[in-house]
Symmetry: C2
Subunit: 212 residues, 2 copies
């Protein structure tokens, strides 16, 4: 059972005096600063200078390792996502499996990585950067969106086996409904999606949509 | 029957030499420039200077009428929205009514005003500007989102009267599904939503979700 997560979103983005760091500590400070900059100034506005300043380090420290901002963003997201591997829920009921997946998605959206993801995906609509194999946009699709879609598919397939779900509900567009509604609620209310809203999305929309 | 709209999105955002304009012609140039700037540099990046430069006029011409960018954006959106009043569809079948509404939404999203709206709503999630009575964000909610939601409600209510729609499908969250999926497709593909996609959203998701 995934519990609703209460996130203190401000904390990683606050400045505090730092002593000299190196190795993993410096890297973590740079990654945190990258995600915070994405949230605050967006993908277009993000610069190596801005990240260095927020991480309280020099530009040289960044350029020693990353030749441009895309490489840096990809590594920062990668590090953040490694710590967030969700497991396939298996409660025995499609309703509860789906609810767990929606809760995990809402918690992710409320995290610095989720906020960064939102920024990147939205700016790419208008100012579509060339999508290269290692672009932040493609990485998000591969590492965040696609695995979660597959878990929803699997939850529905198990529901079909149990006779809870109509077989033709196992489709691309049906799978998209839950994430689209959670995202829509996140945009409309401008912040973390409340648990009562997630429950309502599941019980008023998703269960009626898929039930046999 | 609303036909899928083919929009030349580039045209209003191109520069061409202009002679001296005044009154409505100048105003239109300024409004077009405002929407284009929103698309290109975002809400945060938009400045009075940037709009003036794109409209090929002076800053003084802008400040004579608008004291800040929010006032300008509100007026630009207002002018654009006046020309886009959709009527309540009434085909006699809930499926076709909903499809028309989805097509109107997709056409709006593909227009300069839709692109501007998307930019404002998304940036407001992270950099939430104070929502004042005349804020661009509130105007979009009142003038764009809410009227369209009401038309979807009305289409469903008529469907209930005809026995096509289950009465408890006339709910806030069910009404949100179509717009959320169209928006999600717009983000995922980074451009206008194809008509085949709209038809599939209606036939694979919305009709199964609401049918009696």
């Amino acid at each position: 059972m995934v519990k609703p997560v209460s996130l203190d979103m401000g904390s990683p983005c606050t400045h505090s005096p730092v002593s000299r760091r190196r190795g993993p500590a410096l890297e973590k400070a740079i990654f945190d600063a990258t995600l915070c900059e994405l949230s605050d100034v967006g993908y277009t506005g993000l610069t190596m200078e801005g990240v260095a300043s927020r991480a309280q380090t020099g530009k040289a420290a960044l350029y020693r390792r990353w030749s441009n901002k895309d490489d840096l963003i990809v590594d920062a997201l990668d590090a953040e996502l490694r710590s967030k591997v969700d497991a396939q829920p298996d409660t025995g009921a499609v309703r509860d499996d789906i609810l767990e997946l929606m809760r995990a998605m809402a918690a992710f959206l409320a995290s610095p990585a989720g906020s960064a993801m939102h920024t990147i995906m939205n700016e790419c609509v208008h100012q579509r950067v060339p999508v290269e194999p290692e672009s932040p946009e493609l990485m998000i699709k591969r590492r965040v969106i696609e695995p979660r879609r597959q878990m929803l598919f699997e939850a529905l397939r198990r529901g079909v086996q149990r006779g809870e779900v109509r077989p033709d509900a196992v489709s691309e567009r049906v799978v998209e409904v839950g994430p689209a509604l959670v995202f829509s609620s996140y945009i409309a209310h401008g912040g973390p999606v409340q648990d009562a809203e997630l429950v309502a999305i599941v019980d008023e929309v998703l269960v009626p949509l898929v039930r046999a």
